[in-house]
Symmetry: C2
DNA sequence: CTGAAAGCGCTTACAG
DNA sequence: CTGAAAGCGCTTACAG
C-alpha cells in the first residue's frame, strides 16, 4: 500500500527518526536535510499512518457520539455542532445510533464496548442503563440533557424547569387557562420530562390555575406522530385546551398538524409552544414559538469537558447549564402572518 | 491502562497466542485452557485494543461519510441509514461535514486526507473538485447522487431525469400549464440539477407546453430560505405559476411558506412537488407531494459497493440506479384535508 | 494443541 | 543535529 517512514528514510538516506522530525515539524532539522526528506515524501506520496500513531500514543483521536437517532432534527443539528467543535480541536467523531429496534443487538454488533474511542458524549434520552453498563468502565463520559443516576458523569443541559415555566407563563400571559402539556414520560424519575412537567405546574400554580391531570398527555417517543396522536386525544375532551406546551418541537409540529386538519386556527383557537428550535418550526405555517437551547454552547461545553477528561482531568463530575431563550413566533402571536 | 493480551497470558499461565485464539474463538483450544483463559480475561477486565488490531490488519474498520451538512434532513436521514447498514457489517462511520464556511480549513484541520478511514462515501452535492483532490489517491470511493467527472468512482443515484419528468407530468396532469421549477444550478454540467431540469423540460415538451425560462429559478443552496425567496420572485411575475416543481423538499417547504404567508391556497392556487421525502413533508400543512428515493436501498448499495472495493475488488467503476416513487399528498391533491 | 518471534508503522528516550 | 533500538498491542506463519 502506502509508503512508510522507513521507505522515506531509505530514499532520503536518513534515519526514520529524522523523517519523523520533519513530518512533525520539529525544530533542529537542518534546511538541507528537511528539503531532501520532503522531496522523498512527495516522491513516494507518503502519508502518516494514523492508526500506528494512535497505537503509540495510546489513544485514537476519535470520540464517540451516542444519540437516539439522526432522523430527529434536534439530534442532527446537535451532531452537526458537536462534529464542528470536535474538528476545531482536531478530533473526529464516530456516531452511534442507540434507539429503534434492537438496542442490544446494535450494541453488541458494533462493538461499542471496546470500540476505538477515547471518550463518549451521550444523549441518554431513550437509553436504558444497560447501554451505559456495556461501556468501558474507564471511558470518559459526558451526558447531554439528562442525568442518569446521581453524579455519574459530566453533564450539560438547559434549566428544564425554568424553561418549561417560562413557556407556560407565556401561554398564560395570552389569557389562556386550559393549558395542556404533551410529552410526559415517567421512565426516568429525574428525567427531562419530569423537570418540564414540574416547570409547567409551577407556572400554573403561580397563576392560580388549577392543575388538571386530564390535560397532561404522555408521549412514548418524541416524534411528530406522537404529537399528532396526543392532540387528537386532547381534542376529544369535553373541555379541550386553548393552549399546549409540547416538550419538543416535533411533538408540537405533530400537534399543529392535527389542529389544522381539524379545522382549528392556531393560535386563535389553540396556541402552541415547543422546545428545541429546530429549523422546521421556523418555516411551518404558522411558525412555531419555542424554547431555543443554545446548541452551540451545549456542543462546545460537551466537547471541552470530554477532552479535559480524556486528557486526564480527575475532578468530581461537573455540570454546565446552557442558555435558553423563548422565541415567540406565530403559533402564539395573534398578529402573526398566517392567521387568515 | 487496560490489560493487554500479555497480561492475560501471564495470569493464565499460557502464551499470548493461546489467549488470542480464545479471544477470536478459534478452534482447537482445549476446554480446560479456554476456561482458564476466560477466567483471566474476566478477572482483568481485558478488552482487545482495536487500534492494535487495525494496525496489524492494515485497516481501521472505519469508513468515512462526507456530507454537506447534517442539518439538512435528507442527509441526516441518509446518514442514519448508512450508519445502520455499516454497523450490520461491523463497520463504524466517521462523519465529515464539508459545507458551510470554510471547506478548505476544515479539510486541513480534520486531516481528512490522511484520516483513519478505509473508504469514503461522499455526497458531492456542493463539493468542489478540490476536496476530492485532497483525498488519498488509493482511497476507495463511492459517490452519492451525483457523478463527479466521468467514471471517477462507483455511483449510486436515482434516475433524476425520469423522476423530474414524472413529477412534472403529475402537475401537468392536474391541468396546470404555468409550471415553475425551483433549484436550478449550473455549477456542475452533469449534476443533479441539470438532470432534473432536463426531465422537467421533457415533460413540458411531451405535453406541448412551451418552455418559459422566466419560470425556472435557480437556488444557491437547497435550504428552506432559498425556496422561500425563489417563490417570492415567482409571485412577482406578471403571469405567476400555478404549479411548482422544487428540486428538493426543503425548497418546497420554503416555497410553501411563502405561498401561505401571501394568502394563496395550496394546491388550489398553486400546486407543489418536492424531492426527497423527508419527514417534515409528511406533517406540513398541506402535506407535501414528493419524489421518494429509496434511501435504504441507496445506503445499502453504497456500503456494499464500498466494502467490496475495500476488500480489493478492482473492476471499472459501477453505477447503481436506486428506486424512486412519486408520493401524492395534499400539496397537489385537491381533495386533501387542509384545503379550507 | 501450544509457544516464541517477527512485524504492522509510528514515536521517544537514549546515545553519540 | 542525527541514528539505532525499544515498544505500543495485536496476529500470524513457523516450529514443536
Amino acid at each position: 500500500m502506502g509508503a512508510s517512514l522507513k521507505d522515506v528514510a531509505r530514499l532520503a538516506g536518513v534515519s526514520v527518526k529524522t523523517v519523523s522530525n520533519v513530518v512533525n515539524e520539529y525544530q533542529h532539522v537542518s534546511e538541507a536535510t528537511r528539503s531532501r526528506v520532503q522531496e522523498a515524501i512527495d516522491q513516494l506520496g507518503y502519508r502518516p499512518n494514523l492508526t500506528a500513531r494512535h497505537l503509540r500514543y495510546g489513544r485514537s483521536g476519535i470520540i464517540g457520539l451516542a444519540l437516539p437517532e439522526l432522523g430527529i432534527p434536534y439530534f442532527a443539528e446537535l451532531a452537526e455542532e458537536i462534529i464542528g467543535a470536535a474538528e476545531r480541536e482536531s478530533w473526529s467523531v464516530l456516531i452511534d445510533q442507540t434507539d429503534g429496534r434492537g438496542d442490544r443487538e446494535r450494541l453488541t454488533s458494533s462493538g461499542a464496548r471496546s470500540r476505538t474511542i477515547d471518550g463518549l458524549i451521550i444523549s441518554p434520552l431513550t437509553l436504558d442503563a444497560e447501554y451505559l453498563a456495556g461501556l468501558r468502565a474507564d471511558l470518559p463520559l459526558v451526558l447531554l440533557g439528562e442525568q442518569v443516576g446521581p453524579g455519574t458523569a459530566d453533564l450539560v443541559a438547559i434549566d428544564n424547569v425554568t424553561a418549561a415555566r417560562e413557556a407556560t407563563e407565556h401561554l398564560l400571559g395570552l389569557g389562556r387557562r386550559r393549558v395542556a402539556a404533551i410529552g410526559d414520560q415517567r421512565v426516568s424519575p429525574g428525567g427531562t420530562a419530569t423537570l418540564r412537567l414540574q416547570g409547567y405546574r409551577e407556572a400554573l400554580a403561580a397563576a392560580g390555575v388549577e392543575y388538571d391531570p386530564e390535560l397532561v398527555v404522555p408521549a412514548e417517543s418524541y416524534h411528530r406522530p406522537d404529537g399528532a396522536a396526543a392532540m387528537r386525544l386532547l381534542l376529544s375532551l369535553a373541555d379541550p385546551p386553548d393552549a399546549v406546551l409540547c416538550f419538543n418541537d416535533l411533538l408540537a409540529l405533530g400537534a399543529l398538524r392535527t389542529l389544522l386538519a381539524a379545522g382549528l386556527r392556531v393560535p386563535a383557537d389553540v396556541a402552541i409552544v415547543g422546545v428545541d428550535d429546530i429549523e422546521d418550526g421556523r418555516f411551518s405555517t404558522p411558525t412555531l414559538t419555542t424554547i431555543a437551547p443554545d446548541k452551540t454552547q451545549i456542543a462546545e461545553a460537551a466537547v471541552t469537558m470530554l477532552l479535559e477528561r480524556v486528557n486526564g482531568l480527575a475532578t468530581p463530575p461537573r455540570s454546565v447549564t446552557a442558555r435558553h431563550t423563548l422565541l415567540v413566533r406565530e403559533s402564539t402571536h395573534l398578529r402573526g402572518l398566517a392567521q387568515e
